[in-house]
């Protein structure tokens, strides 16, 4: 029987590799009986989905300040010794 501590670790590990069958079975068994770990898993998954959407599906389109761009242009002109 898995402890909650081991279960939390396996929930994360399952996001990084396909768990061996016996681990998957033990995880499912624990989750069937444990509300706390079920909430934990739901929250971890919701956060993973959120990160996925923020960093990949829907990238930010905030433009850079024009002053910051001008500064880069100036530095490049200076650095290349124009």
């Amino acid at each position: 029987m898995l402890s909650c501590k081991e279960t939390a670790r396996l929930i994360s590990e399952g996001a990084d590799r396909s768990l061996p069958l016996h681990r998957r079975f033990a995880l499912r068994l624990h989750l069937m009986m444990c509300d706390a770990c079920t909430s934990y898993r739901r929250q971890i998954q919701a956060l993973q989905d959120l990160f996925q959407r923020r960093f990949h599906n829907k990238p930010l389109t905030t433009p850079m300040q024009p002053e910051a761009k001008d500064k880069i242009m100036k530095i490049i002109r200076r650095e290349s010794g124009a």
Binding site: S3, C4, K5, E6, A8, R9, S12, E13, A15, D16, R17, A36, C37, S39, Y40, Q43, I44, A46, L47, Q48, D49, L50, F51, Q52, R53, R54, F55, H56, K58, P59, L60, T61, T62, P63, M64, Q65, A68, K69, K71, I72, M73, I75, I76, R77, E79, S80, G81, A82
Partner: protein, 191 residues
């Protein structure tokens, strides 16, 4: 030599006009700070200028620049660890151990949250909190998290670049996710 440099200067200036915005947005999403993102984009263009003939195919310029920027972002996070008093991996682990009793049962089980993560994609106040939590992670957990969740690197590549075994990496990523969840619960979802 001089002619070459002049040529690349023209390219780079054109690239600033073309690519500064997407690079800035990329850096902003990953660092959560406008001033830091501006500096990193500036460093990226300077590195591109200095690498001179390191790049030739115009079609993939943004990909190449993003690759440089990605490494600058990782460097930024490593530098942050030296400046701030973030927990060591061991301290973080013993902090996490206190969430459980001696049998490994939750002592402080996850609370039910007042709002849903799925509503937070464009809530900039939330992402400020997220970045405070990310900055507070121990250094390896943070780097592993950035590589895995932000850059979607394969675990094999992360292991190689960070000199970790697979088992080590799984534990370190677990630590990162668990501490982020805990920090976000305390500072956002339960407030």
């Amino acid at each position: 030599m001089e002619k070459e440099l002049k040529q690349s200067k023209t390219d780079i200036s054109a690239w600033v006009g073309q690519y500064a915005d997407p690079l800035f947005a990329y850096a902003l999403a990953r660092t959560g700070r406008g001033d830091v993102a501006e500096d990193l984009v500036q460093e990226t263009f300077l590195a591109a200028l200095k690498s001179g003939d390191g790049f030739r195919q115009e079609s993939a310029a943004l990909t190449w620049l993003t690759g440089i920027l990605r490494h600058k972002i990782l460097d930024y996070y490593r530098g942050l660890a030296k400046k701030s008093a973030s927990l060591t991996e061991e301290q973080a682990q013993s902090h996490m151990d206190r969430w459980f009793d001696e049998k490994g049962m939750w002592k402080t089980p996850p609370k039910s949250w007042a709002s849903s993560p799925s509503d937070m994609v464009e809530n900039e106040e939330f992402w400020q909190t997220f970045h405070h939590c990310l900055d507070a992670l121990p250094v390896q957990s943070r780097e592993a998290f950035v590589r895995r969740m932000m850059d979607e690197e394969e675990t094999k590549i992360i292991c190689k670049e960070m000199a970790l075994t697979q088992t080590n990496l799984w534990v370190i990523l677990h630590r990162g996710r668990a501490l982020l969840r805990d920090c976000l619960e305390k500072n956002w979802f339960m407030r």
